[in-house]
Symmetry: C2
DNA sequence: TATTGTTATACTCTATAACTATA
DNA sequence: TATAGTTATAGAGTATAACAATA
């Protein structure tokens, strides 16, 4: 069960030991791997993974409120404020206070934001296809299913 | 294929759209989820996930060199220096310069470090079991296999 | 009273480059 | 010249708490 990581230490025959079975570590390494790939594939768009997620989510949910978006993406509200303001300053999104709840903040893409997302989409798709190209389509689907099952496990973390 | 995340937005019916199929996002969310769990399960040991990984790796590979360890754990060398020094100051590891290469730095657990790892092990195991308890043993094994296959995909990133 | 967003602070992690001492 | 580790700096992400406005 630990063969793969145990031998993967192509460097100096590093033994991962019990850690080779740690899903926590595997997830961390996989995420780093995926992010590195992301930066390679989408570098010319000058967008970070988090920003891209936010932009795409706003496109799918025009007028979504900051807090709702933050919870969906597991981003702290304080941090979401910073990211949203940055995207607003970059002219990619618009932030408006709804009439029915003047505490809230609704997010929408500007035309430029929409254009940016449209420009990124093909590269994003290519990134996913290439980064996970070592897996068969079936394996990738299984991986998605398992990760979704894992995520649905517990109640969403409170803020 | 996207049903789960699309409905999982229990909050306000958030639609993940194309992002629901993004393995990159799923990995990020899963890792956050796992880390949050880690802190809950191992809080009393006052150890962060990264530090724990380093300690366990040193236990499995006494005398491993900093650079080799950094590459195995996908940690930048500069960062590894800081973490190793911190662990040394905490009395958990010893750092020695080997005779055959005076540029290098070998890492070993101190008796206290060994004790710390021994104390953490059961909680770590419990954390993994509990955090991934929503998956069957078979599913967890499949998840490990798929992540390992993904990680073995490309050549290790250069520093 | 509780909630939404905001501000402020601090710490971790990451990225980069320049530096040293060895090889 | 190249490598192992170090130092310095900057930025991104995160965690926390306190705050104002509103509900």
């Amino acid at each position: 069960m630990a063969e793969m990581l145990d031998r993967a230490a192509s460097d100096d025959a590093v033994r991962f030991g019990p850690l080779a079975g740690s899903l926590g570590l595997l997830l961390r390494l996989s995420q780093l791997h995926s992010f590195a790939d992301f930066y390679g594939a989408l570098s010319r768009h000058a967008v970070r993974p988090g920003e891209m997620s936010i932009l795409m989510m706003i496109r799918e949910n025009p007028g979504i409120r900051q807090g709702v978006l933050a919870k969906a993406l597991m981003i702290k509200r304080a941090h979401m404020t910073k990211m949203a303001r940055r995207l607003e300053e970059a002219g990619l999104i618009r932030r408006t206070v709804p009439e029915d709840d003047r505490r809230a903040m609704e997010l929408r893409l500007t035309p430029q934001g929409r254009a940016r997302v449209a420009a990124m989409a093909p590269d994003l798709e290519a990134h996913e296809a290439q980064s996970f190209g070592g897996l068969t389509a079936k394996e990738a689907a299984t991986l998605r299913t398992l990760l979704r099952k894992y995520l649905a496990l517990e109640a969403p973390k409170e803020d």
